[in-house]
């Protein structure tokens, strides 16, 4: 029974398809629904890329306006949300470029670092480590930590792990190959894990859980694929 339901579920059109059709027919209220549905996600993505609140607010507005104006170009081969994210990513990169007075900005920069490709800190974490911090402290730690990642790793992690796009959708959105997304995702996850260990390690553990624990014997192989 559950199999039949899931197959039926896969064949059902995404609810956004009907909304997009209504917008194409001139129904602005349907677009209002789409904006409400995705505005927080688009704001978050823009904030992660631009790292500037004012820019993120501008990107959010411009991305929704551009999507509205270009809706006729939306083919429906991908989800509306994925298409919208692609617009928001491009708008965010343009905004960064402006801030850097015209210097080219791409999601490929700063990827040469080897940091995090080999796990070094093997300390286990305390159970529910976030309980040791207030919400504000925790948000600060998470912000600082992710801001330290190279742009090309950060945006892949945000789209794939935070916003829940599939690997294929992330690749399509960023114009990367699937292997490149996978490679960057692994590096991003490992770097974040390593950095968060500084805050979340188990404090009263054995010697093996303290800083300076042995490095794993892992060689190259987690490199960046383009």
């Amino acid at each position: 029974m559950s199999t039949i339901q899931s197959i039926a579920g896969q064949n059902e059109p995404h609810p956004d398809v009907a909304l997009v059709e209504r917008v194409r027919g001139g129904d602005l209220a349907a677009y209002d629904t789409l904006v409400r549905k995705y505005e927080r996600q688009i704001f978050r993505i823009a904030q992660h890329i631009t790292q500037n609140r004012e820019d993120a607010e501008d990107v959010m507005q411009d991305a929704f306006l551009k999507a509205y104006e270009k809706l006729e170009q939306f083919q429906g081969n991908s989800k509306f949300y994925t298409w919208l994210v692609r617009i928001a990513v491009n708008e965010s990169l343009m905004r960064l470029r402006k801030r850097r007075t015209g210097k080219m900005v791409s999601i490929d920069e700063d990827l040469e670092t080897e940091e995090g490709s080999v796990p070094r800190d093997l300390a286990d974490w305390a159970p529910d480590p976030e309980q040791n911090y207030s919400q504000a402290e925790l948000a600060d730690i998470l912000r600082k930590t992710i801001q330290g990642l190279p742009q090309g790793f950060r945006v892949v992690f945000v789209l794939r792990d935070v916003e829940g796009l599939s690997t294929e959708e992330t690749a399509e959105t960023l114009g990367l190959s699937v292997p490149a997304v996978k490679s960057r995702l692994l590096r991003a996850r490992l770097q974040l894990r390593e950095r968060l260990t500084r805050y979340f390690r188990r404090r009263a553990g054995s010697a093996a859980t303290q800083a300076g624990a042995p490095t794993m014997g892992i060689g190259p192989g987690v490199g960046v694929e383009k």
Partner: protein
């Protein structure tokens, strides 16, 4: 399975896209390698923490203001 081999498929393990026979190998490796077990658990937790905590808040009043601006601009663009 070596630690290096485990690390190269760590993402697939986390995303649960591993073939059944490889899964058995992984379980055997994890039973004897505490380091890989820590890496797996803490990487999973890393993702979970970022998923569960809003680090860039969009207060309702700001969201409402931006929403109104977006809809006004769309109305003008018709």
């Amino acid at each position: 399975m070596t630690c290096t081999e485990f690390l190269t498929i760590l993402d697939d393990v986390i995303d649960e896209s591993i073939a059944a026979d490889t899964r058995a190998e992984i379980e055997t490796h994890l039973r004897k390698c505490g380091h890989c077990e820590v890496i797996l658990n803490t990487t999973r937790k890393t993702i979970e923490i970022y998923r569960c905590h809003e680090i860039y808040e969009l207060p309702t009043e700001v969201s409402e203001r931006l929403h109104a601006v977006i809809m006004e601009r769309c109305k003008k663009a018709r």
